[in-house]
Amino acid sequence: MSAGVTTQLELRGVTKRFGGVAAVDGVTFEVGKGEIVGIIGPNGAGKTTLLNCISGLHRLDGGDIRWQGASIAGMAPHRIAKLGIGRTFQIVRPFGSMTVRENAAVGALFGSAAGRRGPKEAFEMADQVLDLVGLKAKAGHPVSALTIPDRKRLEVARAVATRPHLLLLDEVMAGLNNVEIDEALEMVRAVHATGVTVLLIEHVMRVIIGVCRRAVVLDFGQVLAQGEPEVVLRDERVIQAYLGERYAKRLKS
């Protein structure tokens, strides 16, 4: 992290085990205010588990997570949300019986402590956020009528509606085609432009290189490398563990 940037999120030796196997194993890194940081790594590297630790869905087996200087380890998920940490789920979890607009409104009704909203203001907020992610035209639709890319957008909309300081995105671009990825990139940039720090998990290298100032590579639950995406992606160990030779050649050429 460059000097002059205030640290917002600080992971120190974060560890999470499932039945003796460490899915996240002593992960240490920081995220500064206003950054966009990428997390990459092979399947099963522990990326989602790490996000679950940050958002309070998993109890830590070791280490500490600090938010704006104070520990949030062991805190309930709703309290972490109130502090201003929002997230999406890799496997989308919409509220199926609600409309698109109502889904987003739940984020605005609860969400971070930036002022409790009554239903009326929450729905206005929901409309703004749906506009931002490009779901405005489908506000009244039931979730079941949404395509997969739209469901991913809804995940983002709901999290953004909580007015987070930090947004955790778990593979919101997986399964999208090139045009849709470009749209999603625009969406992330638009959210970032409103002053939100972003920590995103992505398999699509174009995304990491396109928006991230820094990338953290996870492998077997440990940090394999971190730094500027262009540098990290040329790292021999990263290529071995994750990218494969073919990609490395393409990157060099």
């Binding site: 958002s55 949300a81 929002g86 789920f89 979890r93 609600m98 969400g111 239903p119």
Partner: protein, 347 residues
């Protein structure tokens, strides 16, 4: 607001013919039949309260509570004890029924609502059974504290036209239950509960305090159920384990909510009216004489159980959103509707 007004108007519309029926009493309408209709109407209102209250935890929040009858019994015994032992006037004792029921629900809800799905259903059923047994068997100073196996007798509430009074009271409770549901579904609280039902972890990371919300929903459900129990105790004058903790009420209130439509404002009430009429009819309690071919009078309660069972299965499979779905032009009952439902509810 309009809906509350509508509910009150509907209650009046319901009451008007009944009060005229009451007036007709002097005009030689058979007294017995008249009283019976009042009794049935009061019981229906009582089940509207219970089904509507169950809907708050079971339908809106999605936690299938199988032991809500415990709150009916606790409400009945709270009011009953205050009247019979402490000699309190009925209307002073009544507010304590919902309070004590809600307090108890909050207490058991805290550990119980950590359980998911069928674990919660089974555990809540256990609580429902256990409370009934406790109430009957707790002794204090060598005497049964709550009247024991012989039950509790209350002094008769001295008021003209008691039947009508308790009918009004139960209808008022039903109106409160429906109005509360109407408010819940439009509030922040209600959106939180529905979010919990649809995906609890997603609700939590959006900032819903799931523990507090679930316990509050359970306590609210218990308060309304307890209110019905409190009214019942003074209305019935005699309470015991059998009439205040009947296990089949658990199934009935759930079936009513399912039949009418869970998660809706009026669905459980519609289900309560339909199902209670059917139960009374099959049980032979309605002052309508009829014979069911091949079924002796003794076997009728059994037949009623069988029909209820078949109905439960049929509703769950074919009308998953309840009969309220056919009101207001939302859907029409047709073969294609049933086929679509079957597709939705099967793997």
């Amino acid at each position: 607001m309009f809906l509350i007004l509508g509910a009150i108007l509907a209650a009046y519309a319901l009451l008007a013919p009944l009060t005229s029926l009451d007036a007709a009493q002097s005009a030689n309408v058979p007294l017995l039949a008249d009283r019976l209709w009042f009794r049935i109407a009061t019981i229906i209102a009582m089940f509207i309260v219970m089904a509507t209250a169950w809907n708050i935890i079971g339908g809106i929040t999605g936690y299938a509570a199988f032991g809500n009858v415990a709150f009916f019994g606790i409400g009945a015994y709270t009011t009953g004890m205050l009247i019979a032992k402490a000699k309190w006037p009925f209307l002073v004792a009544l507010p304590f029924a919902p309070l004590v029921s809600a307090g108890f629900a909050a207490l058991v809800g805290l550990p119980l609502l950590r359980l998911r799905g069928h674990y919660f259903a089974v555990a809540s059923l256990g609580v429902g059974v256990a409370v009934g047994e406790l109430v009957q068997n707790i002794d204090y100073g060598g005497q049964p504290l709550f009247g024991g196996a012989s039950g509790l007798f209350l002094p008769i509430y001295a008021i003209d036209n008691r039947g009508l009074f308790f009918f009004y009271l139960m209808v008022a409770a039903a109106t409160i239950a429906i109005a509360v549901t109407w408010w819940v579904l439009r509030s922040r609280f209600g959106y939180g509960l529905i979010a919990i039902r649809e995906n609890e972890e997603a609700a939590a990371v959006l900032g819903v305090n799931t523990t507090v919300y679930k316990v509050a929903a359970f306590a609210l459900s218990a308060a309304l159920t307890g209110l019905a129990g409190g009214i019942f105790s003074q209305w019935n004058v005699f309470i015991n384990q059998d009439n205040t903790f009947p296990i089949d009420y658990n199934v009935q209130m759930i079936l009513m909510a399912l039949l009418g439509g869970t998660g809706t404002v009026f669905g459980p009430a519609v289900g309560a009216v339909l199902l209670q009429l059917l139960i009374q009819f099959l049980g032979g309690s309605l002052p309508i004489s009829f014979d069911i071919p091949f079924v002796s009078a003794d076997a009728r309660p059994i037949l009623a159980q069988v029909i209820l069972g078949v109905l439960l299965v049929g509703v769950v499979i074919f009308v998953p959103r309840g009969v309220i779905d056919f009101f207001g032009g939302r859907s029409r009952l047709s073969l294609s509707y049933l086929r679509r439902s079957l597709r939705e509810t099967s793997l």
